[in-house]
């Protein structure tokens, strides 16, 4: 077998395949190469050329092709493979299912979310109690947050809440960027465990101490402060705990492998963490919209309280009703539906095994 001649013969096809790959990479279709590659004909031509290149690669050893030609063929097949098996863009239905089905199920069952929630709300409550008791721990809140920050917070809530409506969108955008960013960062640091726990604990303590300080009787602006935080509190605090929980899931997957290899364990944890993080990001955005549009508005306190109760109820429903462990509809279930025709068929002696199964 003369390799040079073989290469000359096959090179025509390879060059054509390369041209098609180039066109696919740039425009996602093949018709720019030539007129005969338009539409279905082009796709068919591409796939047959790809299969031919695959066959050449498979036979490279038998043809005794020189190594650098084999390398070339590897590249060519890889390149064509990448064009043939492209990424499927995410469908909107997939994201809805992720948020409404997968995420609550995971959240309900995930130990890391429970730990993160306990850590966050536990530290938050503790810091709030410590910050509020003026007699026992007079300087706790100041030590945690700094006197300057507390005074600034107090001063900014002295006047009744009435931000002019044209500022709402900018405020909401700021909260989306800032708070969701912190949540995503907390999630990402989760794979290293310590930074995630630190961020979680830090936020819990500072928020708790501020809440406690503002609830002291002598502090100015306390009423307005609580009026401000009522509406978006449920979404925001839950979202922080959730994002940290998702992050911890990743980190725990790295260290606690449960019999899998470490890499496989991290992948599994990543698969589980994405829905939780997605739910958390949605909550952050809802919280930011509330914080931007409802919280600073001059709307009656009752509206904010009602929204707070409604949002808490929504979150609870989301976690409990959508998240309650569902039994998969498997064959182990005693009750199942079957069409009459199936039942008649199953009496057939040839399908004796199925009679037992029913």
């Amino acid at each position: 077998m003369n390799v040079a001649k073989l290469l000359d013969k096959r090179r025509v096809d390879w060059t054509e395949l390369e041209k098609l790959c180039e066109a696919m990479e740039l425009r996602g279709r093949t018709e720019s190469v030539s007129a005969k590659h338009r539409g279905a004909a082009g796709v068919a031509r591409f796939s047959s050329l790809y299969r031919a290149a695959c066959a050449d690669l498979a036979l490279a050893d038998a043809y005794q092709l020189p190594p650098n030609t084999v390398t070339y063929l590897h590249r060519l097949v890889a390149r064509a493979h990448n064009q043939l098996y492209r990424t499927q863009p995410a469908s909107p239905g997939g994201w809805v299912r992720l948020l409404l089905e997968e995420a609550p199920q995971r959240i309900f069952n995930d130990g890391c979310v429970r730990v993160a929630t306990l850590v966050f709300f536990g530290l938050f409550a503790l810091a709030m109690v410590l910050g509020a008791s003026e007699e026992r721990f007079p300087s706790f809140a100041e030590n945690i947050c700094g006197t300057k920050m507390l005074e600034a917070t107090s001063a900014s809530f002295e006047k009744p809440l009435s931000v002019s409506p044209d500022q709402y969108s900018a405020r909401a955008a700021f909260y989306i960027r800032h708070n969701t960013g912190i949540g995503l960062q907390c999630f990402a640091y989760g794979i290293l465990l310590i930074p995630c726990l630190f961020t979680l604990g830090y936020n819990a303590t500072v928020l708790g101490a501020t809440f406690g300080y503002m609830s002291r009787s002598g502090v100015e602006g306390g009423d307005h402060f609580f009026e401000f935080v009522t509406a978006h509190g449920p979404f925001e605090l839950t979202a922080i705990a959730l994002s940290a929980g998702a992050g911890l899931r990743l980190g725990v997957g790295l260290f606690h492998t449960r019999g899998l290899s470490r890499v496989e364990s991290v992948r599994e944890a990543g698969r589980q963490a994405v829905p939780i993080m997605a739910a958390s990001a949605v909550m952050f955005i809802l919280a930011a919209l509330t914080e931007g549009f409802l919280s600073p508005s001059g709307a009656p306190y009752l509206v904010k309280v009602v929204w707070s109760i409604v949002s808490s109820g929504l979150i609870t429903m989301y976690f409990v009703i959508l998240g309650f462990p569902r039994r998969e509809s498997t064959d182990t279930s005693l009750v199942r539906t079957a069409r009459y025709a199936d039942l008649v068929d199953s009496r057939d002696p040839h399908a004796g095994g199925r009679v037992d199964a029913t």
């Binding site: 020189p66 590897h74 590249r75 990448n82 863009p89 044209d166 990402a188 794979i191 991290v266 963490a273």
Partner: protein, 323 residues
């Protein structure tokens, strides 16, 4: 399978067509430039959106004061979206490539060779923050600068890349992806033989000599690389193979080992086995066989370019390489 794998950064992928092809993994030195390009593109996109928003809402501002904060909102949301989801969106829609990856010829794929799924792209891009840790704060060296500006050092990602087989950072590990080299252009390499002595020598190689696959591969590798070696090194390398061959072919001992391997390569890959004898020109009548050593030859030393005139009856002196 793992026992014979070369110590290299290639990774095999078996396609649905049951063909195994190889990818070369991309290491940190290919990925860093891609990241820097992406960083520039990201901020370019933000500036573009910001500029358009300011211009558009600036015009609208003449009608109502409502649009000023709206422009601010658009810019803030743009910063948020672009900074966190630039990589995800581009990788999901452009088959595992961002602008930087496209320029640097690399691509993200799943570890099993499939294209990257949007979910994996999301996870690996969100976790980039952790890979960039720990951050070095500038105000450590200059206390006047507020502790806002930090430089990510990327040590965690680098350590993770060096310690995993597929050079994955933590985000890649969690998402089950890897980054491979996927260059656009590849030249089809064919070594050309432009030395007139090669076909001549090749025609004397006995027809019953069967070249094994291993030998063919060795010859091709040798001929591809011989241009990078000096003639002395070539001979030194080639001697290991050519000495047994000279014995086997019954050739003269003073044949240039490099030339013999080159001729064998020519015979294996380039010549037609049933073609009429090559046009030997001035080399006609020359024989490398040991039994013909005493015969007069038609070779004229001066006909071969670049050849030092040597007095000895060496028909094919070793030191020349006109190619």
């Amino acid at each position: 399978m793992a026992a014979v794998q070369p110590l290299d950064t290639t990774i095999g992928v078996v396609t649905p067509e049951n063909i195994a092809f190889e990818y070369q993994l991309a290491g940190p030195f290919r990925r860093l430039p891609a990241y820097l390009v992406d960083l520039a593109v990201r901020w370019g996109a933000i500036l573009l959106v910001g500029g358009v928003a300011v211009m558009f809402f600036g015009l609208m501002n003449l009608l109502s004061s409502f649009y000023g904060p709206l422009a601010q909102a658009v810019i803030l949301i743009a910063i948020f979206l672009v900074n966190w989801f630039y990589g995800t969106i581009l990788e999901a829609y452009f088959n595992g490539r961002t602008v930087g990856k496209w320029l640097c010829g690399i691509r993200v794929i799943e570890v099993d060779g499939r294209p990257v799924s949007p979910r994996s792209a999301l996870l690996r891009n969100l976790l980039r923050v952790a890979d960039m840790a720990p951050v070095a704060a500038i105000h450590t060296w200059n206390p006047d600068i507020p502790p806002l500006y930090v430089i990510p050092t990327g040590i965690i990602g680098l350590v993770s890349m060096t310690m995993t087989q597929r050079m994955q950072r933590l985000g890649d590990l969690a998402a089950g992806t890897m980054v491979v080299v996927d260059e656009r252009k590849w030249q089809l390499p064919i070594a050309k033989v432009d030395d007139a002595r090669v076909p001549a020598l090749a025609s004397y190689i006995p027809g019953d000599y069967l070249i094994t696959r291993k030998m063919a591969r060795t010859l091709a590798t040798y001929v591809e690389r011989r241009h990078f070696l000096t003639p002395q090194r070539r001979r030194e390398v080639a001697r290991n193979l050519s000495d047994p061959l000279i014995q086997r072919f019954d050739f003269r001992k003073d044949i240039d080992p490099d030339l013999l391997l080159y001729a064998l390569y020519y015979k294996t890959f380039l010549s037609e086995s049933h073609r009429e004898p090559a046009d030997l020109g001035p080399l006609a009548g020359y024989s490398p066989l040991a039994k013909d050593a005493g015969k007069p030859t038609g070779i004229d030393q001066s006909m071969i370019p670049g050849q030092p005139s040597s007095p000895a009856p060496l028909p094919l002196p070793t030191a020349s390489d006109p190619g």
